[in-house]
Amino acid sequence: MIDSSLAVTSKNLRVNFNDVSVLTDISVQFLPGKLIGLIGPNGAGKTTLLRSLIGLVSLVEGSVSIGNKDVQAWSKASLARHVSYLAQGQRVHWPLQVERLIALGRLPHLGPWSQHGCEDRSAISDAMSFADVTSLAQRTVTTLSVGELGRVLLARALASDPAVLLADEPVGSLDPGHALQVMRVFQDLAKSGRTVVVVLHDLTLAARFCDRLVLLKGGRLIGDGRPKEILTPRNLSLAYGVTATINEKDEQLMVVPWEPI
């Protein structure tokens, strides 16, 4: 049975790569039902944080729990059925057909020798329409544009119908129309009671769609709250080293980074 809502919690997380600290003392809780944006400059530790949350990184200190259970206590297969991870800038190694690539997202649900059943097929077609790639189903992945591939990989991550979705820069390569559309997909997933964490660089998208923003800098948590509390001139200069034009439209923020400091 799939739990449809699971909180993801990290406590005093510390991660080193070759004795250099990459994450320091990260305690944060990601709750279901809200779209959470993970923001911060390059090298802030956003990807490492996501990878730690699904147990791909060995921790020096601290712990991660998903639901009420420590991430290491989950069986690999069960964890994969509940948590989906969309890696950044992914490369596809063989020129598969789009539909078959998306079907790989169902792997955690398959028995050792079983084939895709009705449930798998409907999950795959739902995921394809969610990510607006149904028309690409018969194409070869190597013939897709970067943006199309990005949406196909998103559909792959959605195909497992996860309770938790961790997406690393899913809109970085999308055109404005598809970026808005994909952000809306994330918003809908969150509203349906899932836990959705999205790494973003576009601060206006982050302000507009996310219910909460978590700001990392140099491996430390320097802000956690509603977009209006986080996207302040002080935080932007502290985290990104920029001044920004911050306006409001329909009570939502527009953040346009303007000058490096």
């Binding site: 791909l56 948590v83 991870y85 063989w94 792997l107 070869t140 792959r156």
Partner: protein
Amino acid sequence: MTISSSAINAGTKPYCDISPRVLCGVLTALALVLGSFSLVVGRSGLTNVPGLLQIFASDPETAWLILTEIRIPRTILALTVGATLGLSGAVLQGLLRNPLAEPGLLGVSSSAALGSVAVFYFGISGGFSLGVPVGGMAGALLATVILLLLGGRHQEPLTLILAGVAINALSAALTSLALNFAPSPYAALEIVFWILGSFADRSQDHVILAMPAMILGWLLLLSTARSLDALTLGEDTTMSLGINLTSTKLRAIVGTALAVGAAVAVTGVVSFVGLVVPHLLRPWVGYQPSRLLLPSAIGGATLMLAADVLVRLLSTGVELKVGVVTALIGAPFFLHLLYVLRRNHP
């Protein structure tokens, strides 16, 4: 690892994708035809068919002996060794996500050959007829242990390939050393002929010795199918899909070592089958690693048997070695394939 798979395989052409079941069926039918052919083609070619029939009529016992002691073991070995090479090639290409990977890459075949050569060199083969294959399997085992120790817990593809290069170089050097100090030209010739790879003069004992290791190897290799599919998306995503990558790599390496080690131990080194067969069949299964495994095994068996029948048909006097023929046909064919792919997708 500089040539990316998509650079070679980048398919803009539509899929000529047929069901693996149909593909396996066609290949199996081909193997059956060749198999029955293989039972009647003797060492000196087709001319012996009437002779064989005559023997069957006049001396059924001898004919039966020829069939069970020579032809059937030879046919079975050609089929199983071919299947081993095709299957392990497909698995390694999937694991390393590189269409240039092949069973010899890990150094298992060359070290198995070295093990057999050592048996020849120290003259153990005279007293113990299965000494050569046993030596070969010991060599393969040693290489596997070194490979696993070097690769460590994570078995990075690059480390595996480099370790394979080192093991290959060392095995080649030691084989040359054995040739260098061979007690007589005849002994050196025996070693060289053995390394070339052949199914001639193998008995039921060879089949019985190699089969358990090959079958165990096949099972381990086949068990990686799902993980190889997931690896299409890279290692992080594979792990996030709940797949134990360390176990996948171990099964692929140990499976290759068992199956290829046993195969080389009884036949010598046969090149190009493990490289070409998966490459040829890949477009037919839509490039999906898991769907490639069974067709590659059956395709490898078919190709190997065809090569062995060809060797028997072409031989007059000195029998051609099957390993020579596979490389002789395989290498130009592979070059042609690369040329066609480049022309289609510049």
